[in-house]
């Protein structure tokens, strides 16, 4: 029987895609070739290449992604100017003015691209945004001006009294505010139009304070505030060049903190220190140790690991009466704290899957059938004896990959392939008559999937997804452990073709080492970090960028923390270009 082959579309790549609708994408064997993201190479693919040696990032097999020289985009590629997204807008107002208001939550959700809400191309701007920026500026400036004159936040912005100090006070205030808001030095000429707003307003009879407020509002409406502006020698210049120190400090602070540079970072930009390797390294270290780096958990990890989705799923109340908003929140917090620990402690990436510990509060511990921790907060606990290991056996993953009334091993398998191995299976071929799993005679999910993938065109792709998902069948649709369901004892055995031959496993615990040995795990994680950091899609087509980041990461010996830092030190992050190659 001839092997059918199709070039599937890469969901992370840009450019044209070739699709031959009559051919299928999977040849029944999974690949460890990290150059084949989304593409099924001819001759079959195998799951996992066990490499030699250890890696601080991903354990065996992850030491150095194998670059695919045929598919390498330049390390520094064109990306689209990025407007501040909602979260960044809220955080920036907080850091500029001290406001605790969440103005960003008033905005429509930013569109996701490549799985993240901070990708330039997707951050469009419509009249509604302008109106919301206006009203937000009005609100936070009114709040600022209403603070007592001795308030520290107020004094940071309003260093003099415009009533008493007149034009000179307005001038110096606007200049200083614009420098902070634009995240770079500004000239008198640049702020003159804003100062004029104040002058004209007071001439027309407004108070000095209201005049100044108007000028500051102008600053907050400026494209230099709302967008992270980066320039080239000319709009058509062909060279790759390093960012300016201020452009770099902006990229760095929004990457690590989802907010504007603080005074120390800005100073290192102003002195030029930030443009040096040691200077940049020391800022990265400082910033990763700061509480604001929690943004990497709430923004990066939350989106990469789809933690937010847990709040959006609606398990059926009759089937899963134990599920409620509190439990969902606890599940999310568990995953957030796990990632935070990996980052903070410099743990290997593989520990995301292999962690023999987790973080639980009473709600979650009770749900897991573990002893409740003391107190009302979260505690780090060993997972020994709980049937659970790592992120994939925690409530977040298990719940958000389920259907309202049952587990979905297909979704679970697909998630692992997509989000951890950057190898999404091609979607079902057109015309494939997919009978609903919920229809037909009552059989276990496993049995039904076996029927579904019994023949082509289903088998070749589903034989990659289903076994992975079925390994988790001991966890129901909200992640509760079970040894049987209404159809009988749970069978969580499976088989996968890997680079080292056929791997068999019984349950998720035995699947984990197969996944951590997969050579795609580290490059995939690196591509996610790069995408989030730079604001354009990275995939295995960016082999050079990935190779360099992973090599640098291995040298740090600091696992996830090393990966985050290595991305910031990479050329992909520190340089730009006006036009593509």
């Amino acid at each position: 029987m001839p092997k059918l082959n199709r070039t599937a579309v890469s969901s992370l790549g840009v450019g044209s895609c070739v699709i031959l609708p009559l051919l299928l994408g999977c040849t029944g064997v999974m690949s460890g070739d990290p150059g084949s993201h989304g593409q099924m190479a001819p001759g079959g693919l195998t799951l996992g290449q066990t490499g030699g040696g250890t890696s601080s990032v991903g354990g065996a097999g992850a030491g150095g992604a194998t670059a695919n020289p045929q598919a390498s985009k330049p390390e520094v590629d064109v990306m689209t100017i990025r407007r501040l997204n909602r979260t960044q807008y809220t955080n920036t107002l907080r850091d500029l003015l001290g406001t605790k208001q969440d103005q960003g939550s008033k905005f429509p959700p930013d569109d996701l691209s490549f799985g993240f809400d901070n990708i330039g191309e997707a951050l469009s701007l419509q009249p509604l945004h302008i109106e919301l920026f206006e009203s937000s500026a009005d609100t936070v400036l009114a709040e600022l001006f209403a603070l007592p004159a001795t308030d520290a936040n107020r004094m940071k912005v309003l260093g003099c009294d415009p009533q008493a100090g007149g034009h000179a006070c307005v001038d110096s205030t606007v200049l200083a505010f614009a420098e902070r808001a634009f995240r770079r030095p500004v000239t008198e000429a640049e702020v003159a139009p804003f100062v004029a707003l104040s002058d004209n307003s007071t001439k027309a009879g407004s108070t000095a304070a209201d005049g100044l407020k108007l000028a500051l509002k102008g600053v907050l409406m400026s494209p230099y505030f709302l967008y992270k502006v980066e320039l080239d020698a000319s709009p058509t210049a062909k060279d790759v060049h390093r960012l300016t120190a201020f452009e770099l400090s902006t990229r760095l602070s929004y990457y690590l903190w989802s907010s504007m540079p603080d005074d120390a970072l800005y100073a290192s930009a102003k002195s030029g220190d930030l443009l040096t390797d040691p200077g940049l390294t020391s800022q990265i270290t400082r910033m990763l140790a700061a509480p604001a780096s929690q943004a990497l958990v709430t923004e990066f990890a939350a989106q990469w690991l789809n933690i937010r989705r847990v709040a959006a799923v609606k398990p059926d109340a009759t089937t899963y009466p134990a599920f409620n908003a509190d439990l969902a929140t606890s599940m999310q917090t568990e995953t957030s704290m796990l990632f935070s620990n990996l980052l903070g402690q410099g743990r290997p990436l593989s520990e995301l899957l292999t962690a023999d510990y987790s973080f639980v509060d009473t709600t979650l511990a009770t749900f897991y059938g573990m002893p409740a921790p003391a107190g009302s907060g979260f505690t780090k606990v060993p997972l020994a004896g709980s049937h659970r290991t790592g992120f994939l056996m925690g409530g977040s993953f298990l719940t958000m990959t389920s259907n309202p009334t049952r587990t979905s091993p297909v979704k679970r398998g697909k998630w692992v392939l997509e989000q951890l191995l950057c190898s999404p299976p091609p979607p079902p071929p057109a015309g494939a008559n997919i009978a609903a799993l919920d229809s037909g005679p009552p059989l276990s999910v496993r049995a039904k999937l076996e029927q579904h993938r019994a023949k082509e065109p289903c088998n070749s792709c589903h034989s990659l997804m289903d076994p992975i998902g079925l390994a988790f069948e001991n966890f129901d649709g909200i992640g509760a452990y079970r040894t049987s369901d209404q159809y009988g004892a749970i069978d969580a055995t499976g088989t996968l073709n890997t680079a080292n031959g056929v791997a068999t496993f019984n349950g998720a615990e035995q699947l984990i080492p197969i996944l951590t040995a997969d050579a795609r795990l580290a490059p995939c994680a690196a591509s996610k970090v790069l995408t989030y950091a730079v604001g354009r899609g990275f995939s295995n087509a960016d082999a050079t960028a990935l190779t360099n980041v992973l090599a640098a990461t291995d040298k740090t010996g600091q696992g996830v923390r090393g990966l985050i830092g290595s991305v910031a030190l990479s050329e992909s992050f520190r340089s730009r270009r006006a036009v593509g190659e």
């Binding site: 579309v9 450019g15 895609c17 699709i19 689209t80 100017i81 008033k106 429509p108 959700p109 569109d111 996701l112 691209s113 490549f114 799985g115 809400d117 330039g120 191309e121 997707a122 469009s124 701007l125 419509q126 009249p127 509604l128 945004h129 302008i130 109106e131 206006e134 009203s135 640049e190 139009p193 004029a196 707003l197 307003s201 108007l214 102008g218 409406m221 400026s222 494209p223 230099y224 709302l226 967008y227 080239d232 709009p235 989106q303 937010r308 989705r309 709040a311 609606k314 059926d316 109340a317 259907n403 309202p404 009334t405 979607p427 997919i434 009978a435 609903a436 919920d438 229809s439 006006a578």
Partner: protein, 439 residues
């Protein structure tokens, strides 16, 4: 001045709002406000996800004959005189075999192919074209509302970007219009700036201030744009267009003719949410805050759990019924529920007097459809399409089948013409108005 008295209370959610009817203490005749006495027409595009059970959706009357409604539309019986169901229309989709949902959503009001790996559509949606025609003098050119919050993570569908696969309204450049979901926020957007204590001088002052601020940044942005590469300059163009658009409407905002309703609290069931959206859009129309709106009841592959009506499970999953009778039964229930909510919208619009002495429904055209027809076949032909309201001069109270399988675009040309735009082409397939809309 007329006093309207209803006495129903509506619940909005999120930040949580109740609209107390009567909405308005007064409805000042248009002439008294110095505006022309021509009553505005309104357009609403409504998206329901995952298709319908077409057997129940389709009227049982013959093509061209007066409507006999199918079981799904039983609650629309009182509105037959202003209902037109079209059969056998098709729409474009996406450029790969997969992603039928994304393809159908991006295409629903544009009749354009949704392109993989692309953040924009190749042209505008019909509601935005109509907004360009009739939306120049209202506070908002259009309003885009959502029944499900935006995708907060992940990708949208089969690799198609959320920008195109999760929006139905697109501007001239094919950039999506953002959707508002939180009903409290929608309320605020409609009625913010309303300050009954402000004097005319205050209002004039505020408007002048807004304009001067926007002018200052316009100049800066124009200067910046010249320094940017092509892609970035296009993004700045969005900023420039948006600022100019907002600036052009500043004076309009102060002419808002409505007393906003009062607020209170609650969380929302799906039914409440849908009905609040119905009421908000009806309010927005009656108050002339906007004349064009779109509502996406669900996102792409919406998996809403309609357990409360005996259709437990995910809507999208159920729509892949595979011929299973239980799944089909659930799908019929969901469709019926959706039509019941449409009946509520029509009731609401009908209950609001318009400035010409008729009702707002008489001056509104609603286009209601989905991303696909049958959830199993994922087909984009024989699409579920209905028109409601008196906003266009079509002959209603009929089912009209089109065995020649025209595209949505032909219907959109007719709609555009009805709203005063003389286009002769639209989307990828629109070459002529759809025949048979006027008997």
């Amino acid at each position: 001045m007329r006093k309207l008295s209803y006495g129903r209370r509506l619940f909005l959610g999120g930040a949580a709002v109740t609209i107390a009817l009567p909405f308005f203490e007064s409805l000042v005749p248009r002439e008294a406000r110095g505006q022309a006495a021509v009553v505005p027409k309104r357009f609403l595009g409504f998206f329901a996800p995952n298709g319908f059970d077409m057997a129940d959706f389709r009227p049982t009357s013959a093509s061209g004959a007066p409507l006999t409604l199918g079981p799904m539309m039983a609650s629309l019986e009182p509105f037959k005189e202003q209902l037109l169901v079209l059969g056998s229309l098709q729409n474009t989709k996406q450029d790969h075999p997969l992603g039928d949902h994304s393809g159908g959503i991006g295409a629903m009001l544009t009749n354009r192919t949704v392109i993989y790996d692309t953040e924009k559509m190749a042209g505008p949606s019909i509601d935005q074209l109509v907004a360009k025609q009739i939306g120049g003098t209202t506070k908002y050119a259009s309003l885009s509302l959502a029944g499900e919050p935006g995708a907060t993570d992940g990708s949208c569908d089969s690799g198609y970007r959320c920008s195109v696969g999760n929006h139905i309204s697109f501007d001239t450049n094919g950039v999506p219009l953002p959707k508002l979901y939180d009903t409290g926020q929608i309320f605020d957007q409609l009625f913010q700036g309303f300050d009954p204590s402000a004097s005319q001088a205050d209002i004039a002052r505020r408007n002048a201030d807004r304009k001067s601020v926007l002018d200052s940044v316009l100049a800066q942005a124009t200067d910046l744009k010249g320094k940017l590469n092509t892609g970035d300059a296009a993004m700045l163009d969005q900023y420039l267009s948006a600022v100019r658009d907002v600036e052009s409407r500043i004076d309009v905002a102060s002419n808002a003719s409505c007393m906003p309703p009062t607020k209170s609290s609650g969380t929302l069931s799906d039914q409440q949410r849908h009905e609040i959206l119905n009421q908000l859009v009806s309010l927005a129309f009656q108050c002339d805050i906007t004349r064009v709106a779109s509502i996406m009841w669900g996102n792409v592959t919406s998996n809403r759990n309609y357990a409360s009506i005996g259709a437990a499970g995910g809507h999208h999953d159920i729509s892949h019924h595979g011929g299973n009778v239980d799944q089909i039964a659930k799908l019929k229930k969901i469709g019926k529920w959706e039509m019941d909510r449409l009946a509520h919208l029509l009731t609401t619009l009908k209950g609001l007097p318009d400035s010409d002495g008729r009702t707002v429904l008489d001056n509104t055209l609603i286009f209601y459809s989905s991303d696909i027809s049958d959830g199993d076949a994922h087909n984009h032909d024989d699409m579920p399409v209905l028109l409601a309201g008196g906003g266009a001069d079509f002959t209603m109270n009929r089912f009209v089948d089109h065995p020649e399988k025209p595209h949505f675009s032909d219907l959109f040309i007719s709609i555009a013409n009805a709203f005063g735009s003389n286009i002769t082409t639209f989307g990828e397939h629109g070459m002529a108005p759809l025949p048979g809309l006027k008997a």
